[in-house]
């Protein structure tokens, strides 16, 4: 029993950066922009969050910096694709390469300056990132550890997902945003400010990705700087968007399932089942590939990618 609980808790924690990346990408694709720069935006968020936390010793400032860095990366992408109508794939891939590269350059620079050769966040911040403890609730057996003992990121991610779901399904602005992703001509003709909404969604989505990046360095790596800390999570997030059928609520459990796959290797008894670790490392990517194949074979109109995703919108197109 306690083994299962430990496994589930670890899966949720491992899935949380994916949740942020997925939500950010959903916001991009909902306005019709296939942004392959998730990995890059997460990297930017990671380095900005870490370095600001390292310097200021302030958790809130670190989070804001992570959001801002991701948003800034997304803003570049938005300017290039929304305003200058560049190809989404090329722009996104470039953002990824740029984000990872810049992150590593900054990391090397700081590592070179440190005396010990390692960089670690101050104790004060790591304290704040610890699992929460709510008196009464957290101590309840089973439910307590399963629901009320996570670090603050987990709750923030779930709240963002629920807010996004409410926004898309129950507000007029959400309806307009969905219309943009499906058919920008229709939205424009109906009086929706297509370009403005695209900017807003892409930039905020990038910021959310940035927070996911900060998670990888602050929680997954315990506040110790390493290069390439995002390590391909951004790519899994892109696939998870499809797995979640572009719905924020599905992204919650989808990312936790993928989180479970990431930590599976630590929870399988090596004496009984002996498979190389490399197999487990490969698992999320393998499942991603399978899902992509299955999804492309399935044809349900309501669960498909927003119809205009990957295309640029120019009002006077003839």
């Amino acid at each position: 029993m306690s083994f299962m609980i430990r496994f589930i808790v670890a899966a949720v924690v491992a899935g949380t950066p994916l949740l942020f990346g997925t939500l950010g990408e959903i916001m991009n694709e909902r306005v019709g922009h296939l942004n392959l720069g998730v990995e890059g935006m997460m990297s930017l968020g990671a380095v900005a969050g870490f370095m600001v936390g390292y310097r200021t010793d302030n958790f809130a400032l670190a989070l804001i910096a992570a959001f801002a860095a991701g948003a800034l990366g997304a803003l570049i992408y938005a300017i290039v694709t929304v305003t200058f109508m560049a190809n989404h794939t090329v722009a996104g891939l470039t953002l990824t390469i740029f984000g990872i590269g810049l992150t590593n350059v900054i990391g090397f620079h700081y590592l070179g300056m440190s005396e010990s050769g390692t960089l670690k966040l101050p104790e004060h911040i790591t304290q704040q990132m610890r699992a929460v403890h709510i008196t009464g609730l957290s101590d309840v057996p089973v439910i307590g550890p399963l629901l009320f003992q996570y670090n603050p990121f987990v709750y923030v991610g779930i709240v963002i997902a629920v807010l996004l779901a409410l926004f898309y399904n129950f507000t007029k602005a959400g309806l307009n945003v969905r219309a943009i992703g499906e058919n920008p001509q229709a939205a424009d003709a109906a009086g929706v400010h297509v370009l403005a909404w695209k900017y807003v969604n892409i930039v905020i989505g990038g910021g959310i990705c940035g927070i996911g990046g900060a998670f990888t360095i602050m929680i997954t790596n315990g506040g110790v700087w390493i290069s390439d800390c995002v390590g391909g999570l951004g790519w899994i997030a892109v696939a998870l968007v499809i797995f979640a059928t572009w719905k924020p609520v599905n992204a919650i459990w989808g990312s936790f399932v993928f989180g479970a796959m990431r930590i599976l290797k630590y929870y399988v008894n090596k004496e009984i089942i002996h498979i190389p670790d490399a197999f487990y490392d490969m698992l999320p990517f393998l499942v991603t590939a399978v899902i992509l194949v299955l999804v492309s074979a399935r044809q349900v109109r309501d669960k498909a990618q927003p119809a205009a995703c990957g295309t640029n919108y120019f009002r006077e197109d003839r």
Partner: protein, 513 residues
């Protein structure tokens, strides 16, 4: 608003695209409340450009627009809506995966209304103007006519008093067109100002109060509908006198060039796209195929040419079974297809290549050796340009830069050069203006006289009735009748297209086949 003023007045509107194309050249237009104004003109005469300026898609380079007597500047669709102008676009601007109600709600101002309240308002408008609409139905489940109703509802829901309809009847059956016209007449009676763009002169005569004619971007004349007729309007439109009748030469028929029996095909959505279709195509005849869009026309063309596999049935070309043969083999047996999908450059031609290279697509494998010999293709391109009077700067100009009529001439010309036994054309004149259309009709007739069996999928029933020898009607993938074009009326075809005449199927077939 004063009902004596013009709803819309355009003075000297000019719009350029790039440095060369003058789409609108000092166009004047007046529209009153309580009238239906038909806007008439050939392709490229600037009708849609003018309307797009009223709906805020384009901005005029010069000239002024007055709404209700005051000058306005329409910078965006929002401005246009605020002025009470509602546009029903030719290509529907609807989100497929949304319900009708959500589509109506997109972009509306103020707080999101409760569904019950919206439904009430939609019902009220429906009753007032005689619209039939199911607010909860998804757009992708709707017929073309239903989608159009949603578009009209969108405009009325926002309280527009000026409506612009861009070729609303192009995709409708005659019955649906009549229903639309009944709605428009009700709107006129309520004092709304309506502009309708259409190519079909009989519709202009039946629905409009006045007609404004554009030619090559200039306003030529505005006439009272009651004071004119179809021939006069055509002459205004093309600028010289014309003969509107379509030639239907008598030819010797050669039996059984193509025999299709019990053909059934699965569609992409899992339903039957073609259901037990049987017909014969004779040499020296044009067999028209009529039907509401998506009744199986596309599947029929693609199955015969081997692009689409079929479940059951047989297709025989002069007693040779085509099943199991590749499109390449079928093509070499003499079945040629000139398919015009939505954008004309989708399946037939490669838009970024010139005429010569597009010719090569059909002939490259005939020259021996590893290298391409462009000379024969170039000669063929030159010959077609000369023979079909294709307007192009040269044989190497990318074909996507040519006008629709010229693109179609290139495509059809190439297929005809392959000397086919069976020629399949789909929507051969879609979007073409009168001159180009008649050039295409002549080409088809020429093939017919040579003894080619022509299958012509069409949408304009008047044209089908004038050009074809027999007409086969499809409805939901079933043949609802094969009739003699000389003795059939448009109304009968319309009824068969909606399946209402299915009971009479055996009779019609017995009588005419």
């Amino acid at each position: 608003m004063g009902k004596n003023e013009y709803a819309i007045e355009c003075r000297g509107i000019t719009k350029r695209f790039g440095s060369k194309v003058l789409a609108n050249d000092e166009v004047d237009l007046q529209l009153k409340y309580g009238e239906i104004l038909a806007l008439l003109g050939e392709n490229g005469s600037g009708k849609t450009t003018l309307m797009n300026m009223l709906s805020g898609i384009y901005r005029p380079d010069a000239g002024e627009i007055l709404v209700n007597g005051t000058e306005v500047f329409i910078n965006s669709p929002v401005d246009s809506m605020r002025l009470g102008i509602g546009m029903i676009h030719q290509h529907f601007k609807l989100v497929d995966v949304f319900s009708a109600m959500d589509n109506i709600a997109i972009g509306t101002k103020g707080k999101r209304e409760a569904p019950a309240k919206m439904r009430e308002k939609i019902n009220f408008i429906s009753e007032r103007f005689g619209l039939q609409i199911d607010p909860d139905k998804k757009i992708y489940d709707m017929s073309v006519s239903e989608k159009q109703t949603v578009e009209i509802m969108k405009v009325l829901y926002r309280g527009s008093d000026i409506l612009i309809l861009d070729e609303p009847t192009a995709v409708l059956t005659p019955q649906e067109t009549e229903r639309l016209f009944a709605i428009l007449r009700k709107m006129r009676a309520e004092g709304k100002a309506i502009i309708i763009i259409t190519h079909k002169l009989n519709e202009v005569m039946s629905i409009s109060d006045r007609v404004a004619v554009l030619r090559k971007g200039k306003s030529v004349a505005t006439v009272e509908t009651a004071m004119t007729d179809e021939l006069k309007l055509t002459e205004l439109m093309v600028g010289h006198s014309v003969d509107l009748s379509i030639r239907r030469p008598e030819t010797e028929k050669k039996e059984g060039v193509l025999r299709v029996e019990g053909l059934s095909v699965m569609g992409s959505d899992g339903t039957r796209a073609l259901d037990d279709v049987s017909f014969t195509l004779r040499g020296g005849e044009i067999l028209g195929v009529a039907g509401v869009a998506g009744s199986g026309q596309k599947e029929l063309c693609e199955t015969i040419t081997g692009l689409l596999p079929y479940e059951s049935g047989s297709i025989k070309l002069e007693e040779m079974e085509l099943k199991g043969k590749s499109p390449f083999e079928i093509l070499n047996l003499g079945v040629s297809i000139s398919f015009v999908p939505e954008d004309r450059l989708g399946m037939g031609l490669v838009g970024s290549m010139g005429i010569t290279d597009n010719m090569l697509l059909r002939t490259y494998y005939k020259t021996p050796g590893y290298f391409i010999d462009r000379k024969p293709a170039k000669a063929m391109a030159d010959k077609l340009i000369d023979k079909l009077q294709i307007l192009t700067p040269g044989t190497e100009t990318p074909v996507r830069l040519l006008s629709g009529g010229n693109v179609q001439k290139v495509l059809l010309g190439r297929e005809i050069e392959a000397a086919p036994k069976v020629l399949i054309t789909a929507y051969a004149v879609r979007g073409l203006d009168i001159n180009s259309s008649y050039a295409i009709y002549d080409l088809l007739n020429e093939q017919k006289e040579k003894g080619v069996a022509v299958l012509n999928v069409g949408e304009d029933l008047d044209v089908l009735l004038g050009l074809c020898d027999r007409i086969m009607v499809l409805c939901h993938g079933k043949v609802t009748g094969i009739v003699d074009a000389k003795t059939t009326t448009k109304e009968q075809l319309g009824l068969m297209m909606t399946g209402a005449m299915r009971d009479h199927r055996t009779e019609t077939e017995a009588a005419h086949v």
